[in-house]
Symmetry: C2
Subunit: 457 residues, 2 copies
């Protein structure tokens, strides 16, 4: 066992080793295009840079806070789930079967998830419409796989977009069109334009991916009016909405906005949920609510039934051990993720204030930073991310310089635009830092920015 | 919580509920073909039949034995893995990160798996060539996704074939050609013929899927000479071998045959491993060894590196909680799955003898069964399956009759031939039964067979 186990991602340069001299080599040009697609390789490259500067203050990693992790919680949560099953009338054999045997394809904590959605999101969903997945990532792949029938299909997404969604589209050859995003989230006029122009080209826009609360990477949130307009637009334009909701509990204490799914009267919203940020990421437990009725399939009532079929050939079922752990987490918290997230939400709010105050101190109008006004940023009220616009190109080369010479890491935003925009923007993630580290990191960022602005690349 | 949690698969008829009258319905004809492919739907239909006859003796389920499952083992195994990490020098923060944070894409028990392969299979593999996956199923999808570049690519498999492999090909639109199988496994001449004829058609045969030990469903095993010939053939014909090895530990105590991977000097074998049958299926922990060097990809040394990229957009990483549990299982067993499997292998051997002796008693030459010789079966020396050939069509309708009127379930073999053959064959799985249940089930099977032979469909 080596330190490689502790690596947060693929942070190492690939081993050179001895993969054989001469002889058989797999020709990359003979493989599917996704293997070398930038949507899949860029995060590895960024992790590689991060891995080479372990002493740098990192605003790069979008990882959840680690301070409340406790290995002692696992046996307790497993036991809590076992008691939950006992309480539901399962005997010892049945319980052992749930824990260890091949399981129900749609999962075994679907009822607890439905209870959570009722409690926290005022969403009444049929537990049969829930498919528990190996993180929300698998759920995205399932939905995209189903929706990509042939070369005419495409999906839309607000840009900048979560790289994981872009990567999932590559695995199933689903083309993506970018929709403009403003401070209030996706631009609805642009969305309607894009749908219509795709149709004029003979294409089938199937769905639009959107993160209405504290989006990754932009931090943007949608107003209630825009949420309602988006749901209406989906019905009018005959598309699905793929709503992803990993961050909404990390708010400033104000009443949360309803999800798109809660506004969805026409079953136009497929809803992705995740426990990666509210419980822990390592379990890889997410889910999809797919309550769309289906026509033309005698063996399926809901879209969820069809997604389960695909899942049965992708991962068979989501790890029951991991489901039991997250099931116990849900039970321990009375199925309220709002309640379960309060501690960590407070950490993120504290850090968000440290970032926004720190940016104001160092780059604000009273800060004396020159060129004045050259550095700007948005001010999300929650989530895990802030976007800063710099007066120079902030690409991977700039990141390498920032890491090597100034000891501070961040994420170049162009990766979230598929390399087509965002070249002067960076994403700051503050979830795993202390306020002290944030202060130190912003000092370093200010030095880097001053140097970069002088070079004015 | 209802009894639905205990269902071993999708054994229920879909709920009719109220999916909305009128309004939006998802048109199945607008979805990817895999959604309704028989390779994905057939097992659901079979489970549905099984679910309607809970009192029947079931030779249908390919599930592992449940008698050694123990929820108390989980905290112990999690702790064993924690101690293993401590022993490797990880501090408390590092350990918590391994358990709960987003993890290394290729997994965190790769070194333990490499040790297991060295110990049990005399296989020396670079831990960097191991990708831990959400069961071997995900590994198959990853490899097939990579190998399916365009419409020219295809794979081969011995027929009958594991339905999960066929299903995985559907998810990535990979065509499959069937190769004949005899009592000694895949027909090597037919394999060479199929490869050449595909090439003559301008197609690219990429790989052949094989289970050399106690294949599912046939129970067939390959001789050492044929293994060597197959590995040589792969090199000569320039294809990969996709070796799947879930059953080899369930042998009769004789020295096991080497895996194809152990004979592979030219790195032509991609090896799938699984802990579903040796530890427990619910964890969903499998892996792939992909030590092929790659050309034309500066960011990757091994095929495993490229598979990890795909995995990073499919499930991000395999559940660390589940990996920790299986990691602890490995540690507790000194990384020997041979040793860990001894108890359950003895159960399967006992049951196999009960099935073979029971078939001989009821259908053998001295049994008085008429028409004499009309029922035959193979005699695997291990694994979980026996194939019986009946003197009449044994399809899904016959199964329904067998269940309803005779109280015995089995699996129609035609599902493993993609519906092109095997209509008079059935697969008997004996892994979850007692010898008494086997005897009772074979009595019922004899009654069903006598009735079927009289009808002589």
């Amino acid at each position: 066992m080596t330190a490689s186990v502790t690596a947060p991602g693929e942070a190492r340069t690939p081993r050179t080793g001895d993969p054989g001299t001469g002889g058989f080599r797999l020709d990359t040009s003979s493989l599917h295009a996704s293997v070398t697609d930038p949507a899949l390789t860029s995060m590895t490259l960024l992790n590689d840079i991060a891995g080479r500067y372990p002493e740098a203050v990192s605003f790069a990693a979008g990882r959840p806070y680690e301070g409340f992790f406790d290995t002692g919680s696992l046996p307790r949560q497993l036991r809590a789930f076992e008691e939950h099953l006992e309480g539901a009338g399962l005997g010892p054999d049945g319980i052992r079967r749930v824990f260890f045997q091949y399981g129900r394809t749609k999962g075994v904590i679907h009822d607890l998830i439905a209870r959570h959605l009722a409690l926290d999101e005022a969403l009444t969903v049929d537990p049969e419409s829930v498919v528990v997945t190996t993180g929300a990532q698998e759920a995205m792949v399932l939905v995209l796989r189903a929706l990509r029938r042939d070369a005419q299909d495409l999906v839309l997404t607000a840009a900048p977009a979560y790289v994981g969604f872009l990567g999932a589209t590559r695995l199933v050859d689903m083309p993506v069109r970018s929709v403009r995003e403003g401070p209030g989230g996706i631009d609805l006029d642009d969305l309607a334009d894009q749908i219509r122009s795709a149709r004029r080209e003979g294409l089938r826009p199937r769905a639009c991916y959107v993160v209405p609360d504290f989006a990754n990477p932009s931090g943007a949130s949608m107003s209630l009016a825009d949420r309602q307009r988006l749901v209406d637009l989906a019905e009018r334009e005959d598309i699905l909405l793929l709503e992803d909701n990993p961050y909404s509990f990390f708010h400033a204490g104000v009443p949360r906005m309803p999800t798109l799914k809660a506004l969805d009267r026409a079953r136009r919203v497929v809803y992705f949920g995740s426990f990666a940020k509210t419980a822990y990421a390592g379990a890889r437990i997410g889910y999809v609510v797919a309550d769309q009725p289906v026509a033309g399939d005698p063996g399926a009532v809901l879209f969820a039934d069809q997604l389960a079929r695909l899942k049965s050939m992708l991962t068979l079922n989501t790890s029951t051990v991991a489901q039991a752990a997250i099931g116990g987490f849900l039970v321990e918290n009375g199925c309220s993720m709002e309640r379960a997230s309060r501690r960590v939400a407070a950490v993120y709010q504290r850090n968000l204030r440290a970032v926004l105050d720190g940016l104001e101190e160092r780059f604000g109008s009273g800060s004396g930073f020159r060129p004045a006004g050259a550095v700007s940023w948005n001010s999300p009220s929650g989530g895990m991310f802030v976007v800063v616009t710099l007066p120079f190109v902030a690409d991977d080369a700039a990141l390498e310089c920032s890491a090597a010479e100034f000891g501070v890491l961040w994420t170049p935003m162009h990766h979230f635009y598929g390399g087509t925009a965002g070249f002067r923007q960076i994403r700051l993630s503050y979830s795993v830092l202390t306020p002290e580290q944030i202060g130190e990191g912003l000092d370093r960022l200010a030095s880097f920015t001053a140097a970069g602005a002088r070079l004015d690349r």
